[in-house]
Symmetry: C2
Subunit: 226 residues, 2 copies
DNA sequence: GCCTTTGGTAAACGAACGTTTACTGAAAGG
DNA sequence: CCTTTCAGTAAACGTTCGTTTACCAAAGGC
């Protein structure tokens, strides 16, 4: 086999201590994560996922375009991975609440505060969910809807376990949670769009969110299945 | 009298257009409308607005790319025009309802049916609103939020005029309508995603939507400002 | 009837795009 | 130790992109 001329490295881009103590598998996972983070970062600068190009995602991740294909077939597949990751973030909210418990007094306000912190701590994930759940590629939209549905079911289950609203049928409880999830995600976009350091607007938003939930739960407690 | 536009000498991509008795201003408006329709049509095939290119929009509209600039500075400006147009469609819903009136019995179910028909009759407008209100260019998202806000206010005003829920303060009424609008728009995406000819799913969706609104209004009627 | 205005066109530009190919070098594995 | 595996690279391809330019023909204004 003839070898072609191999260009010697010009000025070496190779760092002197390049050593990475990660195994090959770990490195691969890391690059994959970089690609996903790159996409989220670009979305964080006000771009919709469907407006991203494969090349700029790889650029943001610090790899060459061809590398992309070692991890995903196309951008849609990366999008689905993001749905999964974001869904995990969503679920973590429930898990945390379950672990810490919520005080029975002023329950809604506390929940809203926890939720707001969660959204702010994972802003890119919520930005992705809120952004792609309505528009964008149908396959991604569908996947997000599925995550939301699971989330709502889990929430209904938790409420059952806590003995909240014991008078409601499972079906009604499920419908209620669907409504709550919609309201939550809508609030997420509003939280994310808040100008920084505007406690006035912030309070207004939180108050409105709390009131909407209060109204919903008031309705739930007056509900009678028939 | 009909004049024909004679195709140029070459092999014509030029359609055989039959005349047009429109004034220059009318023709311009028509092309502008074609551009907007072209963008909506592309979105109708499952693409997000932010993923559209200027060239494909002009292609869909049947004009040459350079023509675009006779009407809009860039795609964002076209997007804002679409927001305005879609907002008008939204408002028309209220106007129609106001004109026809809603029967007091089974009011919610009737309203939902009317709404569903409205969404199906203007699917592209609702697809645009639902799709861009969460993701997409910030300037467009903001404009949609403004439209929604106006819509909610108008709805609150109508409810006042009808004497519904007279016990609620204006502020609370406004909050309620915000919640209703969110729920409506969420339902719009679901209506638009419905597979064709599946009365089973359709009924399920409508029933769920009705129940959610019933719950909300039940809460509203039990609400006490303090 | 002539001149001006203007909506649409044709052509061209450099830039960015998605994807494929052949290659490399270090880790994995026997 | 030697071979195999494979994540990442470099380069090249044919497209498509946004935008600018000069131009045309018809409508509008006088």
């Amino acid at each position: 086999m003839t070898r072609l001329v191999v260009p010697r490295a010009k000025t070496a881009p190779t760092p002197i201590i390049a050593v990475d103590l990660a195994s090959r598998g770990e490195r691969k996972l890391r690059t994959r994560a970089h690609l996903m983070e790159g996409a989220l970062d670009l979305m964080g600068q006000g771009r919709g996922f469907s407006g991203l190009s494969l090349r700029e995602v790889t650029r943001a991740a610090g790899v060459v375009p061809a590398s992309f294909y070692r991890h995903f077939r196309d951008l849609d597949e990366l999008g689905l991975a993001l749905v999964e990751e974001s869904g995990a973030t969503l679920r973590r909210l429930l898990r945390d609440v379950r672990r810490d418990g919520i005080p029975l007094t002023d329950m809604l306000r506390k929940s809203v505060q926890i939720y707001k912190q969660h959204v702010e701590a994972h802003r890119l994930h919520f930005l992705f969910i809120a952004g792609e759940r309505g528009g964008g590629a149908p396959v991604i939209r569908k996947a997000i809807r599925t995550e939301e549905s699971h989330f709502a079911s889990e929430m209904a289950q938790d409420m059952r376990a806590l003995g909240l609203l014991p008078g409601l049928s499972s079906e009604t409880l499920r419908m209620l949670c669907g409504l709550v999830v919609t309201t939550m995600i809508n609030a997420a976009t509003e939280i994310l769009d808040l100008p920084r350091q505007q406690p006035r607007l912030e309070k207004e938003l939180v108050d409105n969110f709390v009131r909407q939930l209060r109204l919903v739960f008031l309705g739930a407690s007056a509900w009678r299945d028939r």
